[in-house]
């Protein structure tokens, strides 16, 4: 049995190589993990427990997790991009493997035997005869303040015992009994409650504040940032209503054209960049077919409104937040308050799923600004439902044109993909100025932070998954990133991959029709990658593709992508019912995430992502008029309900020998395209505009 060669260390571990920043061993029989990634409903904590317990050979219940905090956790950047398993998980695997080795070396020394003669059973280290000691016994004598050694390899695949199995999640029982606290449930001594009044229209300034009954209320104003602090939530809610009635606003950004958003995107000032090209000639080859696809602004629409607690004492600020990036939030807060980062600590607490960059960071600045007026008192701020839907950053709207040149023999010779979109990343901690909402409203305002896109090598933003995975001989991919941003945009699950895959996979279906080919056969023809072929073939088997009898008024569609072209492979077959408003009836999904650490966790993520993507694709679009966002409640921003949810079956192609990658975002794009392709299959109508509503079907027929 040979150990796999020590691979290069994960990024998180290279950045923070000291073992004791990740893990501690207590004399009382526990392993304490202090990861920098955070739980956002994706189940990462359970994966970490599995990986750690497996390497150390301890029972999983011995592994305790400390919530991430800037004071003690490694800086792992942002919990996003399906990288938790890749970065944090693999770091923990290496750290645990090395910790085991350090302990075994010491045990061997003390017992006077060689390491090879030792075995570990739930933390008890046994040697020949009756010789034994334990992690817990040795813990006080061992200093883990030492850097990780890249030469120490984790266990070989065949010796893993806990990974690859569906361990129950560590947080599920507490949630079922309602006892595991969310940030909204944290009560601190002398805690006060704050609310902030948001401008109805983005960019509007507070023109006047009329008479306002201040009884039991502390009013806090800094330019156009205005809020209240009260002793109870009920009083703060009432004070906010009085404040709203007293405030008048002026100005604001010009909203996008609500009747032609797709065209408006193309008319904005933009930064144009070449995303990728392959053997593309100049001038551009003529395309024989060109189509334009559209995706609207989407809301993250977390079930819990964003919330934060802040407390100032002696010029230091302590913040409790459900941010995805504790260190990033800290650096933006330091800029806003003109203070050193060391004077600020950010502690993570759980909230509901966020699905990207929602109001989590913004509300933390709100709380810090309010709390500054009452030094010593923690102030908890919770947004309203309306602000969660309308004031949080949105997923950017996109117009995507795709074209192809097809030879007389029916070969795709050139592929063109062009995107008009706002950037997909306006997270804090990335720029010289803050990206937090209230910072733009202060008396000394910071400039509006215009959303950017990281380069493709860093995952990309609007251009994520714009480069086809198919082996076309030549292509050119171009992006126009808008330099205006009347509606604030930032990361939403899958970023630009959702729109780009919708466009690519819809267009391939259109080509299949043009060329009179089966959509599956056309895809396989241009895919050499065996893992890609395998998920497509698997999903075809699952759905009995091309053979199953399809009821009247139903249709089936297929789509595929490899997330980020470097992460999970996912193929989807969708069945829709178009007898009334289009409905998804069934989704079959095959996925390959490399090594599967927790199969049920992967299925849960894929299934959840697919259902959310069904909701985005069939129902969702942020509505607005000249006065700002009008979809401010669950009535005006409906999401998929229980009775509308399709049956979902997921199969995993496990590859224990390959690196594990995340599953959270892999299904988003393929689901959208599979649904559009299914509608075409049912009706012969190509809908290129999301959401795939009856209205858009009728529009497409005209």
């Amino acid at each position: 049995m040979t150990n796999p060669p020590a691979r290069s260390l994960p990024a998180s571990l290279r950045a923070t190589p000291m073992l004791n920043r990740w893990l501690g061993v207590s004399g009382e029989g526990h392993i304490v993990l202090t990861p920098g990634k955070v739980e956002i409903g994706q189940g990462i904590l359970t994966v970490l427990v599995q990986l750690c317990a497996d390497e150390l050979d301890v029972n999983p219940h011995r592994v305790r997790l400390q919530p991430a905090g800037t004071e003690h956790s490694p800086n792992e950047g942002v919990t996003s991009g399906s990288l938790s398993v890749q970065d944090c998980g693999m770091s923990v695997r290496h750290v645990a493997a090395q910790t085991r080795q350090v302990f075994l070396a010491e045990a061997a020394r003390q017992l006077g035997v060689s390491v090879d003669e030792l075995s570990v059973e739930d933390g008890i280290i046994c040697g020949p005869g009756n010789l034994s000691t334990s992690y817990w016994e040795l813990a006080p004598q061992i200093d883990l303040a030492r850097p990780v050694d890249p030469e120490v390899a984790p266990k070989a695949v065949e010796s893993r015992r806990l990974t690859g199995r569906s361990l129950p999640r560590v947080d599920v029982a507490g949630k079922a009994f309602g006892t595991r606290p969310y940030i909204h449930d944290i009560v601190l001594p002398d805690m006060l409650h704050g609310r902030v009044l948001r401008a109805p229209r983005p960019g509007a300034k507070l023109a006047a504040l009329g008479e306002f009954d201040c009884t039991g209320t502390r009013l806090v104003r800094d330019g156009s940032f205005v809020g209240v602090i009260c002793e109870s939530e009920a009083a703060a809610d009432a004070a906010l209503r009085r404040l709203e009635a007293a405030a008048s606003w002026a100005g604001g950004y010009d909203m996008p054209d609500a009747h032609d958003l797709a065209g408006w995107l193309k008319r904005q000032p933009a930064e144009t960049s070449l995303v990728a090209e392959r053997n593309a000639s100049d001038p551009e080859p003529l395309v024989s077919l060109r189509r334009s696809y559209f995706k609207p602004y989407l809301a993250h629409a977390s079930i819990a409104p964003s919330c934060a607690i802040a407390q100032w004492s002696d010029e230091t600020l302590h913040v409790i937040s459900h941010t995805q990036g504790i260190f990033n939030l800290r650096s933006d807060l330091a800029i806003v308050f003109g203070t050193a980062e060391e004077k600020i600590s950010v502690q993570h607490a759980e909230s509901a799923g966020c699905y990207g960059h929602n109001g989590a960071d913004d509300v933390a600045l709100d709380a810090a600004l309010l709390a500054r007026a009452v030094p010593g008192n923690p102030v908890r701020v919770r947004w309203s439902r309306a602000d969660e839907l309308a004031a949080s950053p949105l997923g950017a709207a996109m117009t995507i044109d795709v074209g192809a040149q097809v030879s007389a023999a029916g070969d795709i010779q050139y592929w063109h993909h062009e995107i008009w979109s706002n950037g997909y990343v306006a997270r804090p901690g990335r720029g010289d100025t803050p990206a937090l909402l209230a910072a733009f409203d202060l008396a000394q305002p910071f400039p509006l932070y215009i959303a950017q896109d990281p380069p493709l090598a860093g995952g990309g933003g609007a251009q994520r998954n714009a480069v086809p995975l198919y082996d076309f001989p030549s292509w050119r991919i171009v992006k126009h990133r808008l330099l205006t941003m009347p509606l604030r945009t930032s990361s939403i699950r899958a970023l630009g991959a959702f729109g780009n895959i919708f466009a690519i996979e819809s267009f391939l279906d259109e080509l299949a029709t043009e060329l009179d080919q089966d959509p599956l056969a056309l895809r396989l023809r241009y895919l050499a990658d065996e893992r890609a072929r395998a998920v497509l073939q698997r999903v075809a088997t699952m759905a009995d593709w091309g053979k199953a009898a399809i009821p009247d008024g139903h249709g089936r569609g297929l789509a595929f992508a490899r997330y980020k072209n470097s992460s999970a492979y996912c193929a989807v077959v969708a069945e829709v019912d178009v007898n009334e408003e289009p409905r998804a009836r069934r989704l079959w999904i095959a996925v390959d995430v490399g090594e599967t650490i927790n199969p049920d966790g992967v299925i849960n993520q894929i299934e959840g992502g697919a259902i959310q993507a069904t909701s985005w694709s069939l129902k969702e679009q942020v509505a607005y008029d000249e006065e700002g966002v009008t979809s401010r409640s669950w009535e005006s921003y409906p999401i998929l309900r229980f009775s509308e949810v399709p049956a979902v079956s997921v199969e995993i192609i496990d590859r224990p020998e390959l690196p594990a990658v995340g599953a959270g975002e892999a299904a988003q794009g393929p689901v959208a395209a599979a649904l559009a392709n299914a509608i075409y299959n049912a009706l012969g109508v190509r809908v290129r505009k999301l959401p795939l509503t009856r209205d858009h079907i009728i529009e497409a027929m005209e």
């Binding site: 994706q42 006892t179 079930i303 299934e607 959840g608 949810v645």
Partner: protein, 170 residues
């Protein structure tokens, strides 16, 4: 708290029973039920999601009927019995729905789950053998953003079966 003191009897119309215990509230109280539960009684399982009666995260049983606590003024439910998730089951004595949710790992973030437990408990109270469509209909006013719907439906069916088989035991 005893509900037989003269003082409390005089204010009988301003009483509420929460998970079997009586509470008096102020006649003039404008407060809603969710605020009472979370901020005065420390019963945090009922969640704030929208405050508009539209998401179901705050659902509780009032005399066995699911109601949005965020949208229910105290005066409107005087004298009635409120049951929250804490009253339905605990780790020591779980409700069959809670047991089934854990068995099916039927959630992601779990923020929606309290309200869903309440809706499902009300359903199983009046229909011990629901089909899948009936379960979905009963949960249609509970929003889940994580897409845990199908697992949740399976869990409710599993709980129904568990309750039926427990009832059939001699």
């Amino acid at each position: 708290m005893s509900d037989t003191s003269p003082q409390n009897r005089a204010r009988e119309s301003h009483m509420l029973i929460v998970n079997g215990q009586s509470y008096a509230f102020d006649d003039a109280s404008q407060a809603n039920l969710l605020d009472l539960l979370r901020n005065r009684l420390g019963l945090m399982a009922s969640r704030f999601g929208c405050g508009e009666g539209l998401c179901g995260a705050c659902r509780v049983l009032v005399d066995g009927q699911p109601m949005p606590a965020c949208d229910t003024p105290l005066w409107s439910i005087a004298g009635r019995a409120v049951t929250t998730v804490e009253g339905l089951g605990t780790a020591a004595q779980p409700h069959p729905i809670q047991t089934a949710l854990i068995a099916e790992q039927a959630m992601q973030c779990g923020y929606c789950i309290s309200g869903i437990i309440v809706s499902a408990a009300a359903l199983l109270q009046k229909n011990a053998d629901p089909d899948e469509a009936e379960v979905r209909a009963a949960l249609d006013d509970n929003l889940c953003r994580c897409g845990a719907h199908n697992r949740i439906v399976r869990a409710v069916m599993r709980a129904a079966a568990a309750i039926r088989s427990a009832n059939e035991m001699p």
